[in-house]
Subunit: 530 residues, 2 copies
């Protein structure tokens, strides 16, 4: 498995680099776009008629289209059953490299995100690039085999970088993260341990056990009507985020996540605290842990499970939700429809999706994921010596940050004299990120980045109360290019409100599960002499 994951990673990373290369081709041409656009539109207007009269386009399968994802292979996209070769258009696309995210697949999900495309002249331009029709079979959603437990998994956004199809695990392109303070649902990283269960919201019951009023259950309607709706913006991060860097030290078991197994959303639902009190919880009630069980199960019927300390669950300041909304929409299937737990400040693995059961207990969850996974160990501990009981289950995560732009291996032009660097920073336990330092010389000298805690121009006026900073900060810094440098080693490191910092290097935090990867993030870019 590690070998396979690693292989996937290299393929993806390589494709990615090719795709992003388009950014720099495109950037220079954008200034002339206004003029070019009018010319193209006129050409399109005159060429559209003949095309409609002679509909002799060849038919391509989705598989064939998918082979055209780079400028070298040609850039093909599909739209409403048509196949388009937009290779020549990439350089003049006003959105720059973004267009390459759709290469080899459908335009629709991207245009849904960027509403600017819903204009007639955009369709006119596109029609000029038509080269074929998509096969009818691929145009329709493929009906998956009924023997496949993953057959009811929902469709996903094609731009996601897939680490594993079954179960589905994928992260967005990292620049998407810093483009959106609130990550759009379609791009929010997906981390499933098992097939996505199909839950009927009308018959759904949330079981509650281990509390003074005895076992009880709630329907979805009751959960929504009986308890006040609370809204919390919280960043979730997979314990394995940035595992690919740990793999470079010495390969570990686990999905080869890049830097984007982290996303930020606004969640709404009932407070777990309110539900527990409804079920009879009060101070002094026995029980140290609140266990959660998902409705997702493996072939043996074992469900996903996790637990959190009761103090976090019942605290007014803990802000733990039984969420049924994500960014103002019904919870998507991949994110736990109809109800998931959101435990702000706590590792993704405890934010149990498709929540079926809550139980107060003296014990932690007995699940594999609580007992024998998602724990940190010394670099000296390997599979032959590990004692999973010797380490605590990960709850709060350590301080983290990463560079989303520029991309590894990209090129900065000397004539620009400066470089803009963007990224995210977050810490667990509600600790606010108070500073991000960025270096262009591998950590010798530093610049202080500007932090942002909202979409640009819509930032929060005040800091959250201490210990309740659940959402990440996006950061940006523009720094002068060092005079003689031919290559930059860009580094970022964040500081949280407890003044915890990230460690300098990865090897000393290597651990056999490849979790908790939070060393300084490093990106190498070249400086071109024009």
């Amino acid at each position: 498995m590690p070998g396979q994951s690693g292989g996937q990673c290299h393929t993806h990373a390589s494709a990615w680099r090719h795709m992003l290369a388009g950014l720099f081709l495109g950037a220079g041409a954008m200034l002339s776009y206004g003029l070019y656009h009018r010319q193209q539109a006129e050409q399109a207007a005159t060429t559209v008629q003949p095309v409609r009269e002679v509909p002799t386009f060849p038919v391509y399968s989705q598989e064939e289209v998918a082979k055209h994802r780079t400028l070298a292979d040609g850039v093909w996209v599909t739209y409403k059953g048509g196949v388009y070769d937009i290779t020549d258009f990439v350089a003049v696309h006003p959105g720059g490299d973004k267009i390459l995210l759709a290469a080899g697949g459908a335009l629709e999900p991207f245009w849904a995100l960027y509403a600017v495309h819903n204009q007639e002249h955009v369709l006119e331009i596109l029609s000029g690039y038509k080269v074929g029709e998509l096969s009818p079979e691929d145009s329709a959603q493929q009906a998956a085999s009924s023997t496949d437990p993953y057959s009811s998994d929902p469709p996903r956004h094609p731009a996601l970088r897939v680490n594993s199809q079954k179960p589905f695990n994928a992260e967005p392109p990292s620049e998407i993260l810093s483009d959106n303070y609130i990550t759009p649902n379609a791009f929010f990283f997906k981390r499933n341990h098992l097939p996505v269960p199909k839950v009927d919201p009308d018959t759904y019951r949330l079981e509650i056990q281990g509390l003074p009023k005895g076992p009880m259950s709630l329907s979805l309607a009751e959960l929504k009507s009986k308890f006040p709706k609370h809204t919390v913006t919280a960043t979730l991060q997979c314990a394995g985020n940035r595992r690919s860097e740990i793999n470079q030290v010495k390969p570990v078991k686990g999905l080869n996540w890049g830097i984007a197994a982290i996303s930020n959303a606004t969640w709404a639902g009932a407070r777990l605290r309110d539900v527990l009190i409804h079920a009879g919880y009060e101070p002094g009630v026995k029980g140290k842990h609140v266990q959660f069980e998902g409705l997702d199960r493996d072939v043996t019927g074992t469900t996903y499970g996790a637990s959190i300390p009761v103090g976090k669950a019942v605290s007014e300041e803990g802000d733990v939700l039984l969420a049924y909304e994500m960014n103002g929409e019904e919870l998507p299937a991949d994110h736990g429809f109809p109800v998931r737990v959101v435990v702000p400040g706590t590792v993704g693995a405890r934010n149990v999706k498709w929540l079926g059961k809550i139980a107060l207990s003296e014990e932690e969850s007995s699940s594999h994921w609580q007992q024998n996974d998602y724990k940190g160990f010394s670099p000296s501990t390997d599979w032959d010596t590990v004692d999973f009981k010797s380490a605590p289950a990960i709850q709060e995560l350590p301080v983290q940050s990463a560079i989303t732009q520029p991309a590894e291996g990209s090129v900065v032009e000397r004539s620009q004299e400066e470089v803009t660097i963007k990224g995210y920073a977050w810490s667990g336990g509600g600790r606010e990120v108070v500073r991000v330092d960025v270096s262009l010389d591998g950590g010798r000298t530093w610049h202080v980045a500007e932090l942002r805690s909202g979409e640009k121009g819509q930032e929060a006026a005040a800091s959250p109360p201490p210990g309740r900073a659940w959402a990440w900060k996006l950061w940006e810094v523009t720094a002068p290019l060092p005079p003689a440098a031919q290559e930059l080693e860009i580094v970022c490191k964040a500081v949280d409100s407890s003044y915890n910092v990230q460690p300098d290097t990865v090897a000393p935090i290597w651990n056999l599960r490849g979790v908790l990867s939070n060393a300084w993030h490093r990106v190498r870019v070249k400086v071109s002499e024009d």
Copy 2:
């Protein structure tokens, strides 16, 4: 000032190294102590009589005695007005190097700590080494000049390593820390910003302001009788602990603390929460910060001050005390008699001593120490660019650990085949230390240390609740000597329950105040080939 501090440090460090050199001389000789002790006792018994008959000892001043602190200069101590040259005894002292802590000064404070000395034969042995009488002036406590604001400062233990006399700032020898889970009061690090105020407990009043019931005050008797007495074992650490390592990167302003500006004590007093509720606090009452004012003041009358977030102050789990006891004794003068604040998990600077006033406020304390000190900055920020408003006041401290034994520059014998390393580890915010990794090769390979949360054999049965681990852990590991190594670079790093780790190196956390120094601690020792 930085230069001066640095100079003091070098002097002390150098003296220290000489003193500790005795450890290795003494260790080999200890096995034969049983026999030697009997011989000495017999000699003492026969020589004691003539000495008493002919009291012709020369008289020495304390200053002269203080010149004899090393084996090279001779090791002199005083006891009840007598001066003793114990140079020859050092090698056979059963307590090994500990005896050198008293070199050049009085034995009484050490013997008070180590009750084993209260035996007749010990006095007999000592009498054999008498060389003089201490001058009567030095025998009596020196009456300090009445114009000196520090004249009423209390006497201190002579083994403390003094960083500044006025105000008094001193840390214990670091091996004292790992020898005692609870640091004895005399050795608890002292960090005073101003002269120690002389407070009359009978007229003492604690003023309380900014709360719904209006200004009020409490006498010491009321504080003790009106509120339940709570006991909390909590580690306090100065923000400047380990500043000497930051100074080695680039000198900063501040006391040149070694690794021992941290200590652990059991505190008892009224809960701040209870006192605030008594004064009318309830949820919803306006005020974000609880300010504290000390009774210590500078020549202009400005008092020491600090504040903490109200959430910490009123939380049941915050365990903030108005302490009047330290390790079962009345609070010592150096530690805030009669009342100090103990804010577990929070930097020492907020644990205001000689507490005179508490105020609930929308604002943080306006004191210099809250506004323009005790804050962290980027390594790129220096005095010409610093904006103190741009960084939050330090409250919770980051994860920390250090090696207390062996000492820098000491020698390990190859024939021993292994080396035992000891130290402490702690984290702020009630985060429990869950692991300490120790390396003998500068961080290439690691050993996991054993952690201890009590005196040996009296360890706590269970972990504290999450977020309430206020006390440090002592740790120890015995590791085989690497076969070929001539020198060991011993390194330790701790991990807390949020899986925060210490940074690898000091330079990237350098800051102009030299606070928050928590990089891996490194100690170099030589391996002797016998």
